[in-house]
Structure formats: structure tokens, C-alpha cells
């Protein structure tokens, strides 16, 4: 029972962090129709900035600067690169491929800088472990859940109530009708990219924190687990991305926690679990868990 509880807590924390990544991915897709394959590298960039800056700025300062800088880089990718091919009839496809190029460039440079190092981010939680009743949990995991909950709540509120959120949802449904209302669709879209970059940086902090050993050049690959989470949720639905992420996080934690009982499925099933879940969900609900249902009446 204790193991189960600890595993579930672990899974929730993992899921909350995946949700930060998946949410950015979904917001970018909703705003621009682009699958952002550079998302993992942007995440790594955010983490790297915290790692190199925390010595001089302190953790909070470094995190703030990294969030802003990564947001700026993500916005610049949209504004300076993707917008150039906006007139192409297959713009979204071309732009998706451009993000693969961005990913390779960013990842190569960051890997070169990181080498084989494991960088600490200087976070305040270190390796403290708290005991909550019968289970012991890393403080960093509790922080991950708390911070993610606040950030995700803020993003949902922004999406629902702010002028930017309304503009984005309107433009996602019908870009021309949105433009006719005087909505600056290009600006709305660039801001979506910025937000995704900021969210990825927050995720990077928790992915590199204890019990992970630190940031290395592979940290960005975590985005590969957030992709199935986004797809499970329906790709354009922020709540879906959250649900998908929690599902993936729990599955992964359970698969790792009960590894010995799952040996039938081979060693290291936890790593494959997200994709197995994705395939199972898509078999039952091809459009994802919370895909927008066709509410249109013609």
C-alpha cells in the first residue's frame, strides 16, 4: 500500500511536469498548426540557462532570466523563421520541418557545450526528502506538483479569460474571420510560442531536479514523452494535454514501481509505457480523450 501511494505521488509529479511540456506543445499547435519538434531543445536551452546563470544570479534570478530568454528564443523562431514561409500553401507542414532543423541546430550546440557533464541547477530543494504519513517524497517532487498546478491554472485562466486567449481560440477556429475582427493573428501566434518556451523552461527545472542527477544533453528528450501525452489529449485541447500527461506520468511511475511484476513485458517497460498507452487510447478514441467535438450545426 505504501509503495502504491509513493508510486502514485511520483507519477502525479512526473505527470505535472509532462503537462507543462505538453501544454506548450498543444498551445503552439493550436495557434499555428505546427508540430514543434524543437520543443525538447528549447526545454534543454531553458535548463542550460538556469544551470549556467544560477551561480551569479541565484536560483530564482536565473530561473526568471531563463524563462524570459527561452520565451524570447521561441518567439524568435516563430517570428524570424516560420513567418518567412507563411505564404506557402503547405505552410504548417513546411514550418514543422523547419522546427526539426531548429531542433538539430539547438541540440547540437547545447550538446557541445554540455559535453558529458551533469549540471546542477542550484534549486533550493536539493535532495531533501519529506515524510508524509507513511510515505517519503522528495521535496522537489512536491514543488513540481505545486508549481505546475499554479502555472497550469494560470495558463488555463489566460486561455479562457484574457484577450490573448480569446484571440487565439478564435484564430484557431477561423483565421480569416478572426482577422476581420481586427485580431492581430500573427502577434497572437508569436505570443503562443513565447508561452510554450516559458513553460518548457519551468519543466526543465523539475526534470533536472532530484531524484534526477541533473541536467544533461538528454534532458530535452523528455519532450518525446510529452508528445504522446498531447496526442492522447486530442492535440488541440489544453485540458486534454493535462489529462494525457497525468495518465502518462502515472503509467510510467507504476510501470517503474512494479517493474518486477511486469518482467513479462521485458526490462525497462516504463520507457515504452507512454507510447503503449497512446496506442491503447487511440484504439478506443481515435480523436483523443478530449478532442473538440464537432459542435457545428450546418
Amino acid at each position: 500500500m505504501t509503495v502504491l501511494l509513493a508510486t502514485v505521488l511520483d507519477g502525479l509529479a512526473l505527470g505535472a511536469v509532462y503537462a507543462l511540456v505538453a501544454l506548450g506543445f498543444v498551445i503552439v499547435f493550436k495557434a499555428s498548426g505546427v508540430l514543434d519538434f524543437a520543443h525538447g531543445s528549447l526545454l534543454l536551452l531553458g535548463g542550460y540557462l538556469v544551470a549556467v546563470l544560477h551561480g551569479t544570479l541565484g536560483f530564482a534570478g536565473a530561473a526568471a532570466v531563463a524563462v524570459l530568454a527561452t520565451a524570447a528564443v521561441a518567439g524568435a523562431v516563430d517570428r524570424l523563421l516560420l513567418r518567412r514561409v507563411a505564404a506557402d500553401p503547405h505552410a504548417a507542414t513546411v514550418q514543422t520541418i523547419v522546427t526539426i532543423g531548429v531542433d538539430i541546430v539547438l541540440l547540437t550546440d547545447l550538446s557541445r557545450r554540455l559535453g558529458g557533464d551533469l549540471l546542477g541547477l542550484g534549486d533550493p530543494w536539493r535532495d531533501t526528502v519529506r515524510t508524509l504519513g507513511p510515505v517519503s517524497v522528495a521535496e522537489s517532487r512536491l514543488a513540481a506538483v505545486a508549481v505546475s498546478a499554479v502555472v497550469i491554472g494560470a495558463v488555463f485562466a489566460l486561455f479562457r479569460y484574457s484577450a490573448w486567449g480569446l484571440s487565439l481560440r478564435a484564430a484557431a477556429e477561423d483565421p480569416e474571420a478572426a482577422a476581420l475582427q481586427g485580431i492581430r493573428t500573427a502577434r497572437v501566434r508569436t505570443l503562443a510560442w513565447c508561452l510554450a518556451g516559458a513553460l518548457a523552461t519551468v519543466a526543465a527545472v523539475f526534470l533536472a531536479a532530484f531524484p534526477a542527477p541533473g541536467l544533461d544533453s538528454g534532458t530535452g528528450q523528455i519532450a518525446l514523452k510529452a508528445f504522446p501525452a498531447a496526442i492522447i489529449g486530442g492535440l488541440t485541447s489544453p485540458p486534454g494535454a493535462l489529462a494525457g500527461s497525468l495518465l502518462i506520468g502515472l503509467t510510467e511511475a507504476l510501470a517503474a514501481g512494479y517493474q518486477s511484476e511486469l518482467l513479462v513485458l521485458g526490462d525497462g517497460f516504463a520507457d515504452v509505457a507512454p507510447y503503449a498507452v497512446m496506442i491503447l487510447v487511440l484504439l478506443v478514441r481515435p480523436a483523443g480523450l478530449l478532442a473538440v467535438k464537432g459542435a457545428a450545426r450546418v
Binding site: 505564404a87 484577450a163 480569446l166 484571440s167 481560440r169 478564435a170 477556429e173 477561423d174 483565421p175 480569416e176 474571420a177 478572426a178 482577422a179 476581420l180 475582427q181 481586427g182 485580431i183 492581430r184 473538440v292 464537432g294 459542435a295 457545428a296 450545426r297
Partner: protein
């Protein structure tokens, strides 16, 4: 609601406008048209005559269709609109209701209305509140359905919402693209009444319609576009008497006398 400027000088002036799509397909050639302050002008023509293109040239959305103005000028008052984006048109007071309504189906009625006020930015919160009141007075039905997804409204209600959404930006000139398309006759009458009411409140209207009878009954002045050029223009009453218009757009069969004369 903006006070209509005094006088009846031209508010919208389209002069000698040429439009190309994909830098090869000519859609408009030397088209000139004016809409006076507070007036209603109808734009008639067959499918593909260039009516929607003309509206796009005014509202700044040609680029979304890979089109561009290659000659001539579009002005609203003192503001040059050609070569600008739709935001410029909205801020100048020119707002288009797109053909086929194009409400945001997944957004609530209320959110659709809010979206119509976004183009003004944060410059005029009071103005948006007043516009909203005006819209809900014009269309009380929208108030009842504020929290429903717009996609669940009937066609007529969606047309009301599309018009209401455009009015949220307090336009001085409303561009209407086929507002009667696909609506039941009763609803067409309702919409016609609404257009009259909006105009009485001081908003000028440029009306594109296939339903020429409806358009000519609403308009003071009308233009007939044919393959990208203005073929006829005049007061609505004059055009309604023109043989070509009667035959082509009002669906009248030539009677025996005409045939005898021909």
C-alpha cells in the same frame, strides 16, 4: 455608438482599383465605387464577378487569399486602406461580416461577441460595453443564448451573431457579404429589417447580395459588377427599372412584348 458625421460626402472611396490573385489572375479592373456617410450601397453581380474580392480589397484580407491590389486607391475618409492589414480597416471604422457567417462555432455566443471588440484594443472599454448593449437590443435572442456554443445556433441566429460580432467594433461602415445566403424567407426579412435599423442608427452599409430584389429594396445606390468591371451604376430605383438588371438579377422572364420587339 459613433455619431454619424454630418453631411453626405463619400466615406469610402474605391478608385480605379485593380486586383490580382496569385500575381496572374485578374479579378478586378479599374473598379471605382463610393459609399457616402450613413448610406446603403448595394453591389450586385453573378458568381465570380468580383464582389467578394472588392470587399476583401477594402477590409484588407486579400493577402489571405494570395491576392493583392496592384493599382488604384482605397480610402476611408482620410485613411488609406490599400496595402494595409485588416486591423487598419477595423480601427478606421470599417468592419466586414464574412460570407457564410463564419461564427466561431466552438466559442460561446458571448465569446464571439467579445472577439468582435478585440480589434479596438484597450483603447475603448466603455465603447465596447455600449456596443454590446446596442447588439443585445438589436438581437435579444443572442442574450438568451449567451453561454451556448455558437455552432448550435440556427443559421439565422448565426447570421445575427456574425452581424452582432462586427457591430462590437462600433463600425461606421459595415461590409455585408451575402447576409441572406441560405436563410429561410422569414429570416431574410428579419435580417433586412436589422440592416435597415443599423443604418438608421447611423452606420453606413456596403451590401453584397445575390438576392438583388432584397439588395435594391435596402440600398440608395447600387453597382453591378461583371467579370471584374463595373458594368452599371445608379440609384437603386433606376437600376431596378433597367432591363438588364431585371432580366439577370431579378429573375424576370422577358414577356411577349419584349420578345416581339427583339
Amino acid at each position: 455608438m459613433p455619431a454619424p458625421p454630418p453631411g453626405h460626402g463619400p466615406a469610402l472611396r474605391v478608385s480605379d482599383v485593380d486586383v490580382l490573385y496569385g500575381s496572374a489572375v485578374s479579378a478586378l479592373r479599374a473598379v471605382s465605387l463610393t459609399v457616402p456617410h450613413g448610406g446603403v450601397v448595394a453591389l450586385l453581380g453573378a458568381n465570380g464577378a468580383g464582389k467578394s474580392t472588392l470587399l476583401r480589397a477594402v477590409s484588407g484580407t486579400l493577402r489571405l487569399h494570395r491576392g493583392a491590389i496592384t493599382g488604384g486607391r482605397v480610402r476611408y475618409g482620410d485613411t488609406v486602406l490599400d496595402g494595409r492589414d485588416p486591423v487598419a480597416a477595423v480601427r478606421a471604422g470599417v468592419v466586414q461580416v464574412p460570407e457564410g457567417r463564419r461564427v466561431f462555432a466552438g466559442l460561446t455566443v458571448d465569446e464571439n461577441l467579445r472577439s468582435g471588440g478585440l480589434g479596438l484594443g484597450r483603447r475603448a472599454p466603455g465603447q465596447v460595453a455600449r456596443a454590446r448593449e446596442r447588439v443585445l437590443t438589436l438581437f435579444p435572442r443572442l442574450a438568451d443564448r449567451a453561454r451556448q456554443p455558437a455552432g448550435l445556433l440556427s443559421g439565422g441566429e448565426q447570421q445575427m451573431l456574425a452581424i452582432g460580432r462586427a457591430l462590437m467594433a462600433s463600425p461606421r461602415l459595415l461590409l455585408l457579404d451575402e447576409p441572406s445566403l441560405g436563410l429561410a424567407p422569414r429570416m431574410v426579412e428579419t435580417i433586412a429589417g436589422v440592416i435597415r435599423e443599423i443604418n438608421t442608427q447611423g452606420t453606413a452599409v456596403l451590401l453584397v447580395e445575390q438576392n438583388a430584389g432584397l439588395a435594391l429594396s435596402l440600398a440608395d445606390h447600387a453597382y453591378v459588377l461583371d467579370v471584374g468591371e463595373v458594368r452599371l451604376s445608379g440609384t437603386a430605383a433606376e437600376l431596378a427599372r433597367t432591363d438588364a438588371v431585371r432580366r439577370l438579377y431579378l429573375g424576370e422572364q422577358p414577356d411577349a412584348d419584349d420578345r416581339g420587339a427583339a
